[in-house]
Point group: C2
Chain length 126, copies 2
């Protein structure tokens, strides 16, 4: 019983959920190699569509995602990965979760404080 990587050009969406709080932290994409790496290393690894390469989350920041449990859905074309997130935040913009904007009256509102300063972790872009 294998994952269906064909439906989406070799990729499956991977929902990353905090194992303790249940918060959805980010959604990335995995190709078959990234999925295998995730299983083998125990650290969530994705395929970057913009950079066309594998990336282990946390390879720059140290904020790795330690795999606790992996599930797949009825169509086997999506995975859900419960993780322990190392570090204060998963989002490269400094937030605990990438889902830090909430829809309110038709506008996307930042709905939480930053958990860390991204410039100190990833370096300033200036």
């Amino acid at each position: 019983m294998k994952l269906d990587f064909d439906k989406f050009g070799g990729l499956v969406p991977a929902v990353i959920q905090d194992d303790k709080s249940g918060r959805v932290l980010m959604v990335g994409f995995m190709n078959e190699e990234a999925f295998q790496k995730t299983v083998e290393t125990g650290y969530a690894t994705f395929y970057s569509r913009t950079r066309n390469k594998l990336w282990m989350k946390g390879e720059t920041s140290g904020h790795r995602l330690v795999v606790k449990e992996i599930s797949t859905d009825c169509d086997q074309d999506t995975v859900l990965v419960r993780v322990e997130a190392l570090g204060p935040g998963v989002c490269h913009e400094g937030y605990q979760s990438c889902f830090f904007r909430r829809l309110e009256d038709g506008a996307w509102i930042v709905s939480e404080e930053r958990a860390y300063n991204p410039n100190q972790v990833y370096g300033s872009k200036s």
Copy 2:
């Protein structure tokens, strides 16, 4: 500030999470029209890639997803929808969540009981 529907051929992944339990129930895709319908009607509505049309979850089963909160991620190319799920289960195979298979020692194992009989809701395929 708009969602980025261009990255994925007009679609964004939509993670559906139970508002009370925090359980991830399913992942679907929305095009801009499906997203607007979701916001306007208050019921999660998706775009079916196989049927090439909008579908409101629950239009057959009655198991609608009542929208409680919508978030988007840093890239604004994914949405997270917290819902109250009407009915015993979201998955058309009879489970509470579509993510009813867990990876164990390299195999996908069904890790929960069905919450309802799908043949009674969707009709038998025989």
